[in-house]
């Protein structure tokens, strides 16, 4: 027996054989090779024993009474399923037809009579190796399938969580936004967010993180938090961008950053303010003239520069009602054809030029991409926002937990913001938060914020910086106006804006008086107020807006001081 190959691990082996002498001989040989033996003397019994004992290997005579070996082999193989139960036919069948029949029935090998112990042991060992291999393959397949399911589940959960965050804004609710984003674009690092500011302006962010998969999506969460939080509190693009940049710089590894276009679309002021860091050029589409103004990237992506080096300068473009802003991710331009040629900006321009129905622009682009490449790409993001009238002002401030008992009703406060502060600080979100401590004002937070923003920017731009609003007569002057604004603000070294707030209880509820003073030369109030309320003109919209939204507006001190009032009724 020492000549026999060593047995790796004892197996349970079923021997089915109708000849009593052969069965006795074979079971003795197999047992002495270290295995456990089960026996059967016909096919039907073999199937029964297999079901009951699940042996790991079967030695089966081909010709047996009751049920022959072929039929028994078929049933046993079926019962074994995916598991490999090697089946060796015991036969001295000579004809090739009979041997083929054994293989057809699921036989894995033959053992001819008379039996040779060495060959038998070698065959059992070889079949055991195959059996183990199959078991390992099955185990690993199941493991891979489990991992795969786990990964998919994680992605689904991540996407569900993310969708809640990303879509907590107005991306789906706003009637003037159309977007196209492949369902798993998130896992390509694309991010699209939109939300209203307290004054009803809309902030939109289209971002593209470096990298792919979950790591690319992870950075999107803090970015979305900053975007929604700061937009809701009334922060402007500059402050929001600074915060996003600082946060991403702090949390992302060096080789990760986020290309982004952030814009503020204001129906009230008929403008779009844009910051583009590393995204492909978007466009402002002037529908009346068909002109498309490119929104070129002027900055490095978010998360690259330190806070000191970061540049938050934005560009401002006039828009008429019905004009559109179009943004896209690089998936559109970088779509490659079979020869690795890129789709590119020029082909996109051709699609723009050929587009007859503005509402079908996305479909036109998709068709052009498909025609170019032969198949659709899965990481394409596009968004188009139309400037629409009638955007309702909404109270979108954060919710307060207090019950109203602690609401302050009789107080006043004054601020003076001087040159160094005016250069780099936007006090409006802080002031709004302060005023929203008054419960009665929360209903009017949108109007309140709009009026504050208008009075503050009038005081800063026309008062302290001395800019002439008549510059904004046409698109060119418009750009010039904002260029001058940036230059003068950067060089500012004197001047101030004072804000006085007085809150008094009244019989009906309460009254808040807001006075804004500036250090500028003032203006001819009579003359400006005599202008018609032309809401479609680029300049002069601010004052008419203020007069529409507040209870009472009064100028004094030669236009250097303006006072508005907001009243509210006591809450039930």
């Amino acid at each position: 027996m020492s000549a026999l190959a060593p047995v790796l691990e004892p197996l349970t082996i079923l021997i089915a054989e109708d000849s009593a002498a052969d069965l006795l001989l074979l079971s003795t040989i197999v047992r002495r090779q270290g295995h456990q033996v089960l026996t059967a003397t016909n096919g039907a019994e073999a199937v029964e024993v297999f079901i009951r004992e699940r042996p790991q290997l079967v030695l089966m005579d081909a010709l047996m009474p009751v049920m022959d070996g072929f039929e028994a082999a078929r049933r046993i193989k079926q019962l074994a399923g995916e598991e490999l139960v090697p089946l060796i036919f015991l036969t001295s069948l000579r004809e090739s037809e009979a041997l083929a029949q054994c293989l057809d029935a699921g036989g894995d090998d033959f053992l001819p009579k008379p039996y040779n112990q060495l060959i038998l042991a070698a065959k059992i060992n070889a079949m055991d190796r195959l059996r183990r291999l199959q078991a390992t393959v099955l185990q690993q397949r199941d493991l891979i399938a489990k991992h795969h399911d786990y990964l998919l589940h994680e992605q689904r959960v991540a996407k569900a969580v993310f969708d809640k965050v990303a879509h907590s804004g107005c991306i789906n609710a706003a009637p003037n936004i159309r977007y196209l984003q492949s369902p798993y674009a998130l896992f390509n690092g694309d991010l699209l967010l939109a939300a209203y500011t307290p004054s009803g302006d809309m902030h939109v962010l289209l971002g593209d993180f470096t990298g792919h998969g979950l790591p690319a999506a992870v950075g999107a969460m803090p970015l979305a938090e900053v975007f929604y939080g700061m937009t809701a509190k009334g922060y402007g693009l500059a402050e929001t961008l600074r915060e996003m940049n600082a946060k991403l710089k702090r949390i992302l590894p060096v080789d990760m950053f986020c290309c982004a276009t952030l814009l503020c679309l204001s129906t009230q002021r008929r403008v779009v303010e844009v910051w583009n860091g590393g995204m492909p050029e978007g466009y402002v589409h002037e529908v009346a003239s068909g002109k498309r103004t490119p929104l070129a990237s002027r900055h490095l992506p978010l998360g690259v520069l330190s806070a000191e080096a970061f540049d938050d300068r934005t560009e401002v473009w006039p828009m008429a009602l019905g004009d559109r802003v179009f943004l896209l991710s690089d998936g559109v331009l970088d779509t490659a054809d079979a020869n690795d040629q890129l789709f590119g900006a020029e082909r996109l321009q051709q699609v723009f030029a050929a587009n007859r129905e503005p509402d079908r622009l996305f479909e036109d682009i998709e068709q052009a991409l498909a025609a170019f490449r032969g198949e659709a790409r899965d990481d394409v993001s596009m968004v188009e926002i139309t400037l629409q009238a009638g955007q309702q002002l909404r109270a979108s401030g954060p919710l307060y937990a207090d019950s109203g008992q602690s609401c302050p009703l009789d107080w006043s406060v004054s601020f003076e913001f001087r040159a160094e502060t005016l250069k780099r600080y936007n006090p409006l979100p802080y002031l709004l938060q302060l005023l929203l401590e008054i419960h009665g004002l929360r209903e009017q937070s949108g109007a309140l914020y709009s009026v504050m923003a208008e009075l503050y920017s009038n005081a800063l731009e026309h008062g302290v910086l001395g800019l002439d609003s008549r510059l904004k007569r046409d698109a060119q002057g418009f750009a010039e106006y904002y260029r001058q604004r940036n230059d003068r603000l950067a060089q500012l070294n004197s001047g101030y804006i004072r804000v006085h707030v007085q809150v008094l209880p009244t019989a009906a509820g309460g009254r808040m008086t807001l006075r804004v003073e500036d250090s500028g030369p003032g203006f001819d109030v009579e003359q400006v107020l005599a202008r018609p309320l032309d809401i479609d003109r680029l300049s002069g919209r601010g004052l008419s807006l203020v007069r529409q939204l507040s209870s009472d507006v009064r100028w004094s001190d030669g236009g250097r001081s303006v006072c508005v009032e907001f009243c509210w009724e006591a809450l039930a």
Partner: protein, 115 residues
């Protein structure tokens, strides 16, 4: 080899493998073979049955070293396909005689292990 009735090397190999079970194996073979010889006689007119019995008998006699017997069984198995029943009777007789010849040899071998 054709004239070898009982291969002594096979027997010594079997004894080594079977150890204490060796006499039982001989008993089983003799008993089994007796039944098969009788079955063959009964099935003289059924070629198909003759082929099936001859196939099994060939296997066990081969395993036990009854070389001539195994050879005769193989011939019967082969010729049972397509041949006339009349020609098979002679082969059955030959198998009968061959078993009668080897049976005492196995019995002698068996007697070495009387308990």
């Amino acid at each position: 080899m054709v004239d070898l009735h009982l291969d002594p090397e096979v027997l010594s190999g079997l004894q080594e493998v079977m150890e204490g079970e060796y006499p039982k194996l001989l008993d089983t073979f003799l008993d089994d073979s007796q039944k098969r010889v009788e079955a063959l006689r009964k099935a003289r007119d059924d070629a198909k049955a003759l082929g099936r019995i001859a196939h099994s008998f060939k296997g066990s006699s081969g395993n036990l070293g009854a070389m001539r017997l195994a050879q005769l069984c193989q011939r019967l198995e082969v010729e049972s396909v397509g041949a006339g029943v009349g020609d098979l009777g002679a082969l059955v007789d030959q198998i009968d005689r061959e078993f009668a010849l080897v049976k005492p040899l196995y019995e002698t071998e068996r007697q070495r292990f009387q308990i």
